[in-house]
Amino acid sequence: MIPLEYFLILSSVLFVIGIVGVLTKKNAILVLISIELMLNAANINFVAFAAYNNDPTGYVFALFSIGIAAAEVAVGLAILLNLNRLKDTVHVDDLNTMRW
């Protein structure tokens, strides 16, 4: 059996790549993709621990989070499409409307 550490290292690497992507990418679509990477890193952990502990709860959680990720991307893309239509850009640097 492959040791648990390998999975954890893989997921950590993916997670950090995701964080860096979220923080550095200018394009909002790439930010969304990076978020997916982070979610998947979490999913890998769930699946790895479930297999390791012989506990199916982890698989179920992984399914849930895939579902949530799908929904989130649908919503996120919809927002981005609207933003693009309004502001004619998807660059996060140009989108500072959260400032009051």
Binding site: I19, V22, L23, T24, V92, L95, N96, M98, R99
Partner: protein, 683 residues
């Protein structure tokens, strides 16, 4: 109903008059003079009734006082009250204050006649002055006394600065206010010490020997010491005496009131009030006696060559007040020593000394009011205060010169006149105390020298004013009086009719005559009943006796000294056998002469202290305030503003910077938890 229960009305009457004159006086024809007289006179009538009852019938149930009070503030275990307290000392003060004040107000109606609109201000302030002084006398606790004490200070400030457009009057008022304030701060410190020691300031609790005995004697001594500081300021004793000569800038009637009945007598009254406490700390009594003795002598020397008539009287007041403090201090010391050793004779001697001090207070009030009001009449006539310019006034002012002669003889201590009895009694008491402490012998000697100087300078003043050749001012006044009156004939209609050599009107002379009678006779009250030993709070009593006074060589010594002083003045300033000017101009005497004129440099000294020490200190405090205190405040505000600015910069509105902060925060948290776990040994 007892008359005592009405005593609270006494200070109220002048205060009501104060309000009426203050608000409506301008519309009245005499600018409120009659209302003022009604208020003060009413207070006098009631005061005399109360005092008569207190001095003859005594108080109910064998008590030595009458008290009426209501709770004012009760907080944190401290119990403060408002009320009135009447005992024999109060009764004496009531007589003195209300009676002299009434005469001064009557006199003022004439004296201030030409002041026009300003009379309203004058009568308003006089009413307030008398009212608060009576309130001070009637207070039943030290805090209430202190409140009125401060009000008396305010009134003196207002009245000394009555002619505020003169720079000298304005600065004299300021000086009086500030110098007495030094004493008042000490008084306040003393009050706080007493309040923390006893938890109350009510007289009847404080004067209970059991309460005093149970208290911390060190704290008691400290409190009394500081409270006496208040007396030093108010009564113009060394070293805070210098404001009183300057206070002559006010109207002469105000000087009379301040010197005879109100302001400076408050300090003596305070010491008399503290007496039941003072006897538990004889050392403070000794201190008071020393201050009194030193002041008496020093002020008398300064009066020797003073060129202004009112200045001479001012110095003489300081000197006489010194006598009172000397006497009260000696009394407290003797009584205290006697109390410690259980020596009845010493306690009796202490009581006598105490009584002598109060006795002198009363006599002084009468003859000093007389002297000041006479001086006022003189100034009214010649329009100057310079003694050199007067002279020869006796012919023109018969009544005034006579009553002033009576006053001068009285203060000089010539027998039968009032000043003799009290001054002699004081000197005898101090001499007697000499057998217990050598300092008193020294003080006695100073007292005798002071008596000599007093006789000398008073008669120097009298001869220079009334005797000899007519001075410039006298000639001018007698020569131009007719024209002067004619020119203002329409203003003072009745004056136009009188002939030109006219002294003060009878509204001014009347009070003088009454005071002259008192200056002659008030000393004889010692032979009525228990004499002045009746004013003492304690059971130990010993009446003054004529045999004792006549049988004592000290009596003859003080009479001799007084006559010698008068004789010296007579030969110097009347017969001109001695050339005073030549003596003063001798190179060996000149520096001394100048030193006395400059009041031993006290005026300069105050300025020096004010300029160098106080101003320097103030600069340091100012620096501390601006740099340190304000600096701290500014630092806090600057920090908050800076923090706000930084927070605003963080508010970018960019999702990525927010998430960077969140992630950074999480990382920091994880690291912290890791370190914490490591330190605690969990990991």
């Amino acid at each position: 109903m007892q008359i005592y229960e009405l005593a609270w009305i006494i200070p109220l009457l002048p205060l009501v008059a104060f309000l009426i004159v203050g608000f409506l006086g301008g519309k009245m024809k005499d600018k409120g003079g009659m209302i003022a007289l009604a208020g003060v006179g009413g207070a006098m009538v009631l005061s005399l009734l109360v005092a008569y009852q207190a001095l003859t019938a005594g108080f109910d149930g064998g008590a030595h006082y009458f008290e009426q009070s209501m709770a004012w503030v009760s907080v944190g275990g401290y119990d403060l009250q408002l009320g009135i307290y009447i005992d024999t000392v109060t009764a004496l003060m009531l007589i003195v204050v209300s009676f002299v004040a009434s005469l001064v107000v009557i006199y003022s109606v004439g004296y201030m006649h030409d002041q026009g609109e300003r009379r309203r201000r004058y009568f308003t302030e006089i009413c307030l002055f008398v009212g608060v002084m009576l309130g001070l006398v009637l207070a039943n606790n030290f805090l209430q006394l202190f409140i009125f004490w401060e009000l008396v200070g305010l009134c003196s400030y207002l009245l000394i600065g009555f002619w505020f457009e003169r720079p000298s009057a304005a600065s004299a008022a300021k000086k009086a206010f500030l110098v007495t304030r030094v004493g008042d701060v000490m008084f306040m410190v003393g009050l706080i010490v007493l309040l923390t020691t006893f938890k109350t300031l009510n007289f009847h609790t404080l004067f209970d020997p059991a309460v005093i005995g149970g208290a911390d004697q060190g704290m008691l001594a400290l409190g009394l010491f500081f409270m006496f500081g208040g007396s030093i300021g108010k009564s113009a004793q060394f070293p805070l005496h210098d404001w009183l000569p300057d206070a002559m800038e006010g109207p002469t009637t105000v000087s009379a009131l301040i010197h005879a009945a109100t302001m400076v007598k408050a300090g003596v009254y305070l010491v008399a009030r503290m007496f039941p406490l003072l006897i538990f700390v004889p050392d403070v009594g000794l201190f008071i006696a020393i201050i009194g003795g030193v002041t008496a002598l020093m002020a008398a020397t300064m009066a020797l060559n003073s060129p202004l008539i009112k200045r001479v009287l001012a110095y003489s007041t300081i000197s006489q007040l010194g006598y009172m403090f000397l006497s009260l201090g000696t009394g407290a010391y003797l009584f205290g020593i006697g109390l410690k050793d259980g020596n009845e004779a010493l306690m009796a001697a202490g009581s006598i000394a105490f009584a002598a001090g109060l006795f002198h207070l009363m006599n002084h009030a009468f003859f000093k009011a007389l002297l000041f009001l006479s001086a006022g009449a003189v100034i009214h006539y010649v329009h100057t205060e310079e003694l050199r310019l007067m002279g020869g006034l006796r012919k023109h002012m018969k009544v005034t010169s006579t009553v002033m002669l009576i006053g001068s003889l009285s203060i000089a201590g010539i027998p039968i006149l009032s000043g003799f009895w009290s001054k002699d009694e004081i000197l005898a008491s101090v001499f007697e105390a000499g057998s217990d402490h050598w300092v008193f012998l020294l003080l006695w000697l100073m007292g005798v020298i002071t008596a000599f100087l007093t006789a000398f300078y008073m008669f120097r003043m009298w001869f220079m004013t009334f005797a000899g050749e007519e001075g410039e001012a006298t000639k001018h006044a007698t020569h131009t009086k007719g024209e002067h009156v004619g020119a203002h004939g329409d203003e003072h209609g009745h004056e136009a009719e009188v002939h030109e050599h006219h002294e003060a009107p009878w509204v001014m002379l009347g009070p003088l005559v009454v005071l002259a009678i008192l200056a002659i006779g008030s000393g004889l009250v010692v032979f009525i009943g228990e004499g002045f030993s009746g004013t003492i709070f304690f059971d130990v009593k010993e009446a003054f006796s004529l045999d004792k006074i006549l049988g004592d060589w000290l009596t003859y010594l003080s009479v001799l000294v007084a006559i010698a002083g008068i004789a010296l003045a007579y030969f110097t300033f009347y017969k001109k056998k001695v050339d005073a000017g030549a003596i003063a101009n001798k190179p060996s005497v000149r520096p001394l002469y100048n030193m006395l004129l400059k009041r031993y440099g006290f005026t300069k000294g105050y300025d020096y202290i004010g300029e160098k020490v106080v101003y320097g200190f103030s600069l340091a405090v100012d620096w501390f305030d601006r740099k340190i205190i304000d600096g701290i405040v500014n630092l806090i505000s600057r920090g908050l503003v800076g923090g706000g600015k930084a927070m605003r910069k963080m508010q970018t509105g960019l999702v990525q910077s927010y998430s960077a902060i969140i992630i950074g925060g999480i990382v920091v948290l994880i690291v912290l938890l890791y370190v914490l776990g490591y330190v605690l040994g969990v990991i």
